[in-house]
Amino acid sequence: MTKFSAAVFKLVLMMIAGLLAACGSAPVARQPLAIEQARAADRDARKALGEGELQFAQQQFARALALQRSLDDTAAAATSMINLATVTHRLHDDAEALTWLDGILLEQEGIYPQQAKLAAAFRKAVILTDLARLAEADSALQSAEKLCAGQCALSAGIGALRARLLLLNGDAEGALILAQRVSKQEKSDKAERANAVRIVAAAEEKLARPAPALQHYLEALEMDKALGLGVRIGEDLNGMARVSAQLGMDREATEYARRAVLANGSQSGQLP
């Protein structure tokens, strides 16, 4: 046997030995059936949500919740309730979504973790803002701010929502300052930064400053395109069309408006 053959032989032996060693890793220990079922339901629900199968996701989250409650896993149950609220909100049943969140927020015995209460308060504020129930949204957001104390993972979202509420309540200056602060937080969530930039643009528009508003709408559009958020791309384009018209850029305004119509139409399933 030549040296070359011997080297190849040794190499193959080493590879086989390495593969055998890797395959010898200990298998994941099996959990009791109910725990496995709860995890499977949660996993299926998340997968369905990712694929846009909202009804199935709702069913599976409800199944996971029932199993988690039977296992006295209150933390996981709270997460499932928040997830159910989120899915229900996406199904446009906001009353039901708020009921799920209130199930956590109004629980007097303190069985749910603070993190779950924070997430529930924040999401309730978002839903109420969408429903234009601004006073109630403000109250829920205050609860979230109190629980977060500026140091939680949701702080950027809370800041962006506070800016949005200020703008909706007519305080464009306050909204501008707060949204600018959120948009400059490099470490915060990209979608929240895009939201903040959009609020900056809207505040500038409200303050009758169309040129910087257009710049910020463009920036928000780029960010939303990178994130692939269709509905918000439509909002950005609509804002760009409005401020372009204010700037006398009629041709651009028409183009942006047309693109917004196409983007929004695609979201609602209207093709072509």
Binding site: M1, T2, S5, A22, C23, S25, P27, V28, R39, R43, R46, L49, A76, T79, I82, N83, T86, V87, H89, R90, A116, A119, F122, R123, V126, D130, G157, I158, A160, L161, R164, D189, A191, E192, N195, R198, R232
Partner: protein, 318 residues
């Protein structure tokens, strides 16, 4: 390029050794082919048996022929003759022909409720001659689930129509009986009111109004006589009609019972088989999931990504 030293003693007669190795491989492959042929019945002597079917529906070339649950042959050919009938040839292993008589019947059945179709040949009468190659046998289609459902439907629908008609017909027995009963009830109520009135008057005016009381009693007696006359006239008729209605209902019940009895023997087998199939499917899914879980837990298929556990994403603008 020479990799091996020809002078090495181990490589002497290398061609011969390689030839022996190749020969063994060829012999092995040949043996596998022969074994497969034996298993598939390629070397088994078969005899052709014929039958005529009304249509070729559910008959396929290659479908098995079974006898007492064992496969003894298969359907060879299907052909349409000049009369539009289907001429079918099946090949039956010659060694089994002695078990079958000439009056045997070839039945087309389903293996279970939703299984594949099979041909099953019966044994035939003991006194008849043994079936020979080239003989013809009688063919029939066994009634399957669909036929049973159609039979039940055909029996139950007319019954429901009859019951509906009996109940809805204003001149029918049931309506007439109810009408008569209603009239009788009204008559009885009037009588009761009158008797009450009489008793009240008798009670209040026992000392002063004996005569009116007697008149009232006379009238009441007349009413009672009239009522008795009506009852004498109507009751036999009512009883007769009620009896007729009961007989009609009894006949309907018997027909439904017959239909259910006709279907009932098949139901436990169907349910057992469906339950068995569901159990097997569930076990298969469970096994597959377990296999996937096991594979996922091993390198290189192991996924290092931990499953997501927190709330699903929702931002301030959702």
């Amino acid at each position: 390029m020479t990799l091996f030293d020809d002078k090495d003693a181990r490589f002497r007669n290398l061609f011969g050794k390689a030839a022996v190795f190749v020969l063994f491989a060829v012999v092995g492959i040949g043996a596998v082919f022969v074994w497969s042929g034996v298993k598939k019945g390629a070397f088994t002597a078969t005899s052709p048996i014929y039958f005529v079917a009304d249509s070729g529906q559910d008959l396929n070339e290659g479908m098995p022929v079974k006898f007492s649950g064992f496969k003894i042959g298969k359907l060879n050919t299907l052909a349409l003759d000049e009369q539009g009938h289907v001429q079918v040839e099946v090949g039956i292993e010659t060694k089994y022909l002695k078990l079958i008589r000439q009056d045997a019947v070839m039945s087309l059945k389903k293996e279970g409720v939703i299984g594949d179709g099979i041909l099953e040949i019966s044994r035939g009468a003991e006194g008849k001659p043994v079936l020979a190659a080239g003989d013809k046998v009688r063919f029939e289609r066994a009634s399957g689930l669909e036929q049973a459902v159609v039979d039940v439907k055909n029996r139950i629908l007319p019954l429901l129509d009859d019951i509906h008609q009996t109940l809805q017909d204003p001149d029918g027995d049931v309506r007439q009986t109810l009408k008569n009963l209603r009239e009788l009830s009204a008559g009885m109520r009037v009588t009761q009111q009158r008797l009450d009135s009489v008793l009240k008057k008798a009670d209040a005016n026992l000392d002063h109004d004996v005569e009116p009381m007697l008149r009232s009693l006379k009238k009441s007696a007349a009413n009672a006589e009239s009522l008795t006359g009506r009852l004498d006239y109507q009751l036999p008729e009512l009883l007769k009609k009620a009896d007729t209605s009961m007989e009609a209902l009894r006949a309907a019940t018997q027909t439904i019972n017959d239909a259910v009895q006709h279907t009932a023997p098949q139901l436990p087998a169907m349910i057992d088989e469906t339950r068995d199939t569901l159990g097997k499917s569930r076990k298969l899914i469970g096994d597959t999931q377990q296999t996937l879980d096991t594979l996922n837990s091993h390198w290189p298929l192991k996924r290092d990504v931990q499953p997501e556990t927190g709330p699903v994403r929702m931002d301030s603008h959702d």
